[in-house]
Symmetry: C2
């Protein structure tokens, strides 16, 4: 466990860590289905949409695709998933549905925990989502960020090192004064390789029930917490 007094800023993974992307996207899909009288396995649709996320970013990371923002990647995947599910939507319906990723709901403990942490630390996003997405989401959900860091600002997706290193560079602090918070061990391990501190928060419902829960031992990261309230307590906020 690192000393909270040495931490100046906490930056958060967003999809899955701060917001419930799966429940929110299913909600949007089901609402669209009701409005348009379309029946489908919406949880499976949401999972298929998300399953395209890492492969699409990987194409950008490897240079097979030039820099492409997440809204555009989400739309490319959506068009593919719609075709696979045999659903035809008009252009404006596709655009509206694609922006479901701007309208994700926070986990129940997120806003209160962030509000506590904000009193003591600079709090920000560090997400592969674009700036516009993160700002729109924060206003709708009441996420009280001090600053919005996005892969878009350096045109490199996590876990590329440049994305993590942007935070201490722009804040003018040392990497060890920044804690990356995520529900995903790979994100935290990549942050640690760049010298950042790490905070793991478990989100057992990210992939629905029954949960595919990563088992993370106390000591695996600088902080291991069950939710943002516990994280705030452990950080003295």
């Amino acid at each position: 466990m690192s000393d909270p007094a040495q931490i100046r800023a906490l930056v958060f993974d967003v999809f899955g860590t701060v917001v419930d992307w799966r429940g929110s996207v299913i909600r949007e899909l089901a609402a669209l289905g009701r409005a348009m009288r379309i029946e489908a396995d919406w949880p499976a649709f949401a999972d298929a949409w998300r399953a395209g996320y890492q492969p699409a970013m990987q194409r950008v990371r490897e240079g097979a695709l030039g820099w492409t923002g997440l809204d555009r990647l989400h739309r490319m995947i959506l068009d593919d998933v719609l075709a696979r599910f045999g659903i035809d939507l008009a252009e404006d319906e596709r655009n509206h549905l694609n922006l479901a990723w701007h309208r994700l709901d926070p986990w129940p403990d997120a806003v209160e925990g962030l509000t506590r942490l904000k009193r003591r630390f600079v709090i920000g996003t560090l997400s592969n989502g674009g700036v516009g997405l993160l700002v729109a989401m924060a206003k709708r959900a009441g996420l009280p960020w001090d600053v919005v860091f996005s892969a878009e600002l350096v045109r490199r997706y996590k876990p590329d090192p440049e994305t993590y290193l942007m935070v201490p560079s722009l804040l003018g602090v040392a990497p060890a004064e920044v804690m990356m918070v995520a529900a995903h061990t790979g994100d935290l391990e990549a942050a640690r390789r760049q010298g950042l501190r790490t905070g793991y928060v478990s989100r057992p419902l990210e992939h629905g029930k029954p949960a595919k829960v990563e088992t993370v031992a106390q000591g695996a990261f600088d902080v291991v917490a069950g939710d943002f309230g516990e994280l705030a307590g452990m950080m003295g906020a």
Copy 2:
């Protein structure tokens, strides 16, 4: 006057428009002088420090100096002004004093006006100050930004076009959906050339008393207001 319903985001010049740089820097200088038993004309010192600001940025704009963040420019100017005033400070005292620009006080109407505007619009900085400076200032002063845009993100100082164009690009909106708010006509004219809407707010005390007030007619910009409360009212917030 533009229709507020067409505006999605308001971005604000910071030094002079949101915060009283001159009064705040004089306060810091006077406190240092008392602590170190140094007497000097602190208002003249503050004005000399600020007078180096545009020429220093101009060297960066013209390429005579590679990209250099504002903290570093402020420090270069500070060292020069200290020498001219015959004041010798140790390195840590210089560093602390240089960060006076992170500790500027808002004009009395700023926080309340921004809080009102935030309910209806995305509000952000668009400043030549660095990200770290803007975040530290906002936390100390309670400025409720949704997003922090800084010249540092594109490594181009206002009034270079790239700085203004960053805002609609990163928010994913049209330039005409963004309003630049400033107390300086040159900043607004440069924003307008890139297609942004413009809001002028008069800050007659920016340069102390007696005021050197720019006379700006209603109609010279999309909105002309006397303070942030009036601006919020004119924008329907």
